[in-house]
Amino acid sequence: MTQKETITENKQEDELRIGAFICECGINIAGTVDCHAVADYISTMPHVTTAVVNKYTCSDAGQAEIKKAIKDMNLNRVLVASCTPKTHEPIFRACVEEAGLNPYLFEFVNIREHCSWIHMWEKEDATNKAKELVRMGVARAALLEPLESSEVPVTDAALVIGAGVTGMQAAMDIADMGHKVYLVEQGPSIGGKMAQLDKTFPTNDCSICILGPKMVEVARNKNIEIMSYSEIVDVDGYVGNFKVNVKHKPRYLDIDECTGCGLCTEKCPVEVPYTEFNEGIGTRKAIYTPFPQAVPLRALVDKSICIDCGACIKACERGAIDMDQKETFSELDVGVIVVTAGFDVYNPEPNNEFGFGLYDNVITTMEFERLINASGPTMGKVVRPSDVKPPKRIGFVQCVGSRDKNSNIYCSSFCCMASLKNAQLLKEKYPETEVYIMYMDMRTPFRMYEEFYNRARDMGVRFIRGRPAEVTENDDHNIIARIEDTLTNEIVNLELDLMVLSVGAVAPESTETVRQILKVSKAADGFMMEAHPKLKPVDTTLDGIFIGGMTQGPKDIPYSISQGSACAARATRFLAQGKALTEGITAKVDDDICVGCGVCVPMCPFQALSVEDNKLNIITALCKGCGTCMAACPTGALQQSHFKNEQLLAQVKNVFAYGEV
């Protein structure tokens, strides 16, 4: 049986010269840990050339001292014992790199968060622990190996999934920077949810009036290829080299021949409620164009209700209709992917929240948007569903499906402003209408929003702090909301002609499919998760894949558009450079030891591993360096660079010592 050398034994040919820098962090560390005692102890360890104490190692002076020591003492390993690598590792890595040392030859020891701050009253114990932590670090430092990030070429094209306002913005920005964009949209038109809205806060512009020209602009952009009525089926590959399979659903007509003239729709005898765009208010035909401003302005056939009468085929002057059309597929090669797949509004029907689904005159914000929209099914005339009469008393209930332990605990952020906007529109159109907003807290951050709130108040909108405890209907189909106004401690029975539920946003099922295809992480709220909540808000942990708009969580239009642009900027970095760097910490295999058993292959969540001819093949560009495969490897042939078994075991071994510290 083979016996390996003791694991701490140094295998480097060059003599090891470790420099240890112990940070006092003002009194953050030095107030508890005797840093000089730590330095004295560590300076006696093998290979430690120098051990010094700094007031603040991360300061310019501290970093200068590290660089000087590297040069003067020819250090080939640097250890800093200070705070957490999560914030400071990049700083020190850059520092040693500037002094000519490979950044992976730097070792970080945390003696602040993991020592001085949590043992504030046990100074002796804390000092001993700090000595041990640094001892562990020195043992690991001795075994560190230089690593290089590797470079991969990047295909000069981007995929944007979802053509709502965020996706349109991202696509245009990328295209305007000179790169090819495939804009894939599952619906028959681009524009997303914003196309359905009436006006937008805080300026009350007409939504489609500002969105429509933008949609046309997207269609006109030579670098953008719109793939409407299409879905992502499969994505393979890695940053710079994604292969995407897109399914084009059949519209049952030739999109190049159709002009969107609408003759077919006129002749079609089949009529159903238009749920997709008008929230079921009003109707559409079996062959229809999505809405007047649709891009592309082309018809499509709803085969599930078509009776094959042939009227449309006769009506079409251009012979565009093809009832035998099949779905088709495209293979796209792209370098980066932006996901702007949007949201669904919360559905209060399953639990009949606030009487929704039980009483006709309880509707959602989205239905209200269509009702008050001048190009909507009622031509902008607000009527209530039960008797099609104009309502005189309208109440908005906030936080339906948001900030509620029974549904979603998060705040959907746009609904307060949406209700304020709708309340104002009502007051403008029908000044005699009584408008109530029932709320828990009105949330109006950002420019002009609080002013918008004040304006609604000035217009006579009434605010009741409380949520209806009970909702019933009387014989006139009026809604009675029993509610405690928590500001006056009064219980009110509010009689309303129409009650609007201000529903929040939820992650739609179609997004979940895309998320699983791409393997982007999911946050607790069900939306996709960004790489860092503050520092990388549109990145994902997967290189080359970005998320923006509602896909990343609920937000309003300006914020979504900003994220669309942010995604474009982040993604275009790769396209502009034409190359991508992959992380130095990856899986490596020792071919002499590997037997090709393949136990590791299914461990990899990124499909980076495969066995060919009894040998393991690693696609380094796919590897994210998690190390899960190494733990499964029975032979030890797989190693994670920078977290090799030897390196980790050296740390373990040096937790302990014989005799006294």
């Binding site: 016996q3 299914p602 490897c633």
Partner: protein, 383 residues
């Protein structure tokens, strides 16, 4: 035509093979036909040296296959690793089959190109133990033995001069003879995990001793059997209901015995004494690594995690080598007993390993080496 699920009784058409073979020479004939017709490139067989010695050989010579009827008590070596990297047909005990399948899961054996003729196994005996037992318990000169049989819990030896002597297996095993320890608690007696499951259980009437009962377990098995019939090497007839019932009966008796003995072989050790028990058992380990070398389910080469981080200085307490092995084999150990057989320090490694692996496997309702559906180690629970 042979179909999956068929149960037949058959024998070799060649008189010579039929008479020399243990039970009508069906297995030998099937293997020979597989080679002859190009189903495989090689066949693994036991080359007869004498009654107590036979060695596994890999051959592409049909005559050598036909001449290969095994010895009574050859060294009970696990044959799985002979199939690594080859297109072979082989005879196999249930534990051989398990090992072949485990190796298949680890990409070491291409099961699509490996044909396994499984043999019923009531347990195997060490040749040295057997010789000693013949002298001490049976008062028979080992050189005089020409045959043996297990019937109604008794082990029967036949000698040159036509005599038979039977002693109860319980009695033999109590006296420290009989089957290897790992065979005693084994409950996989009919190789239902092989392509063909063959044996003499259920061969009755005038066929007894002259034919083999054979069950077709899968498509490959059907192909094997059909191939031998087409080649004119064997003749088969459907097994009677009575034959099937008898085979099942023998099997269930053997299984029950295994389950019963398991309780005897693995007495409960109280929580607080177990660590000391393992330390005591393993204190004589000399780190030779033979147990790893011989393990038929381990696919590692010379270097592996168990050896790489092992240090001799750990041995006085608990060695990294054994800890890693206990862990790594806890889902895949088939308790074939090879490691105990080869240990120069006589450490009952199979028994120690089984204390870890049997409960782990039972808890997951999992038996290693039965099919390719469940992947190896750590992945068992993921799907």
């Amino acid at each position: 035509m042979a179909n999956v699920g068929d149960m037949v009784v058959g024998y070799a058409t060649d008189e010579n093979v039929r008479s020399r073979g243990a039970s009508g020479g069906l297995v030998t004939a099937v293997l020979a036909a597989a080679l002859e017709k190009g189903l495989v490139e090689n066949v693994v067989v036991m080359k007869h040296i004498n009654e107590f010695e036979a060695v596994p050989i890999i051959t592409d010579n049909v005559e050598e296959v036909l001449a290969s009827t095994g010895s009574l008590h050859s060294v009970p070596v696990n044959l799985a690793k002979y199939a690594v990297g080859r297109k072979v047909a082989m005879p196999a005990k249930p534990c051989d089959v398990q090992a072949v399948i485990e190796q298949g899961k680890r990409e070491m054996i291409d099961l699509d190109n490996t044909y396994i003729v499984g043999l019923n196994c009531g347990g195997s005996m060490h040749p040295i133990t057997t010789k000693k037992m013949l002298v001490e318990m049976y008062d028979i000169d080992p050189e005089d033995v020409i045959g043996e049989e297990i019937e109604k819990g008794k082990l029967i030896f036949k000698t040159k001069n036509g005599e038979e002597k039977a002693i109860a297996i319980d009695e033999l095993e109590e006296a420290g003879f009989g089957r290897r320890e790992s065979c005693r608690f084994c409950t996989l007696k009919i190789p239902v995990n092989a392509d063909l499951a063959c044996g003499n259980w259920g061969v009755i009437g005038d066929m007894a001793g002259n034919a083999t009962f054979c069950q077709v377990m899968n498509e490959k098995g059907a192909k094997l059997l059909e191939n031998a019939i087409e080649a004119g090497r064997i003749e088969v007839q459907p097994a009677s209901d009575k034959a099937i019932a008898i085979r099942d009966k023998v099997n269930s008796v053997m299984e029950d015995l295994g389950s019963y003995l398991e309780k005897e072989i693995f007495p409960e050790i109280p929580d607080e004494e177990r660590m000391q028990y393992y330390m005591d058992q393993m204190e004589n380990c000399i780190d030779c690594g033979a147990c790893k070398e011989v393990c038929p389910v381990c696919a590692c080469g010379e270097d592996s995690k168990c050896t790489m981080f092992h240090s001799l200085v750990d041995n006085y307490k608990m060695s990294m080598y054994h800890l890693v092995r206990f862990m790594h084999l806890s889902d895949s150990c088939i308790a074939c007993g090879q490691c105990s057989d080869v240990c120069p320090s006589d450490i009952p490694i199979t028994l120690l390993q089984s204390r870890f692996s049997i409960p782990s496997q039972r808890r997951r309702n999992y038996q290693p080496g039965m099919n390719l559906d469940t992947p190896p180690f750590f992945e068992v629970m993921l799907k």
